[in-house]
């Protein structure tokens, strides 16, 4: 995935560097965000999804999913939650949210801003997470929490999406950076 056929060409080195850069940024946000204290346990803002959304115009599906997997595994290893039940929830929810956002971006490229994409991602993230929690603890009582998580996901999705709208619009359109190579 990382190294295409022309192994040590400039493009492959560049793509590896881009992968490392985005992975490190996402891991940093993931770890710093886990230091934030929110009044309710398990609630997180999901700020690392901003990185996922920023990659959507430039990179392909495999690259974005690869960044996500590296981010979750390394990030939870640093925080100290690797392979805990919380890790399973974060992985399942984040994976489905990433796929949702990629599909939403590809299908509705002209019609949706990052706000809508982020809303969809956050909503699916919480939906899958609560169902996974019910599967993990073998009891359906966690589903009672579903409405609260879903309403909260609309708030956090709006925060992330509007931030991404600002981030994606501001520096890129003014600076003339070379476009990163498009990767599959």
């Amino acid at each position: 995935m990382l190294l295409p056929d022309d192994r040590y060409s400039m493009a492959s080195i560049e793509s590896a560097a881009h992968f490392a850069l985005f992975a490190v940024t996402a891991i940093g946000i993931h770890v710093v965000e886990s230091l934030l204290t929110l009044p309710v346990p398990w609630f997180r803002l999901g700020l690392a999804h901003i990185i996922t959304m920023m990659m959507l115009p430039f990179y392909g599906t495999k690259f974005i999913l690869g960044i996500f997997i590296v981010r979750v595994i390394v990030g939870s290893a640093i925080v100290g939650k690797l392979f805990s039940p919380g890790f399973v929830l974060a992985f399942g929810g984040g994976f489905s949210a990433t796929i949702t956002m990629i599909v939403a971006y590809k299908m509705t490229r002209k019609h949706l801003s990052f706000w809508g994409i982020s809303l969809l991602g956050a909503w699916v993230h919480n939906l899958v997470q609560v169902f996974l929690a019910a599967v993990i603890i073998h009891h359906s009582s966690t589903l009672i929490l579903m409405p609260y998580f879903l309403f909260f996901s609309i708030v956090t999705g709006s925060i992330n999406g509007l931030l991404t709208n600002r981030i994606e619009a501001f520096p890129m359109s003014q600076a003339s950076m070379p476009t990163p190579p498009r990767l599959t």
Binding site: P57, F58, T108, K110, H111, L112, S113, F114, W115, G116, L119, L120, W123, S140, S141, L143, I144, M146, P147, L150, F151, S153, I154, S158, L162, N165, E168, A169, F170, M172, S173, Q174, A175, S176, M177, P178, T179
Partner: protein, 142 residues
């Protein structure tokens, strides 16, 4: 050199800067749809419309039995520490006496409605209010 490099300014020509320009009507549509679906989930997943009339008691991982909530009775369930006495009275279940050291299970009751649960971990007793149909077909499992 400059001709060969695409700039991201070209790439993002469709993107707008401010809130008003960036947000489209489809964003608002998705917001409204998701709020509606979340509100709907309040009715789908919340068990307030479920009326269950049985007390399910499990001792040591095995089902001791289902008991109707509307008949007053006293049930003795035996675990590794001794006998836990469970009382059903006025449509509520409560634990009267427990052999465990901290008596948390006594303080958890009385429980009247669907989904309420009392657990005694040292004595391995679970008391839950649920429907009689079976273990997996809970009304909120779909």
């Amino acid at each position: 050199m400059k001709n060969s490099t695409r700039t991201s300014g070209d790439f993002l020509k469709g993107h707008k800067t401010g809130f008003r320009e960036a947000v489209t009507r489809w964003d608002w549509a998705i917001l409204i749809i998701l709020i509606f679906l979340s509100w709907l989930s309040l009715y789908i997943f919340h068990p307030f419309h479920v009326r269950s009339n049985c007390v399910w008691i499990s001792a040591g991982g095995k089902t001791l039995g289902f008991y109707p909530l509307n008949q007053d009775r006293i049930i003795k369930a035996s675990g590794p520490l001794g006998t836990t006495i469970i009382k059903i009275h006025n449509g509520e279940a409560s634990i009267l006496k427990a052999p465990c050291p901290h008596k948390f299970c006594q303080k958890m009751g009385p429980i009247p409605s669907h989904g309420d649960i009392m657990v005694c971990i040292p004595n391995r007793i679970i008391v839950e209010i649920k429907k009689r149909k079976g273990r997996e077909t809970d009304a909120i499992t779909r």
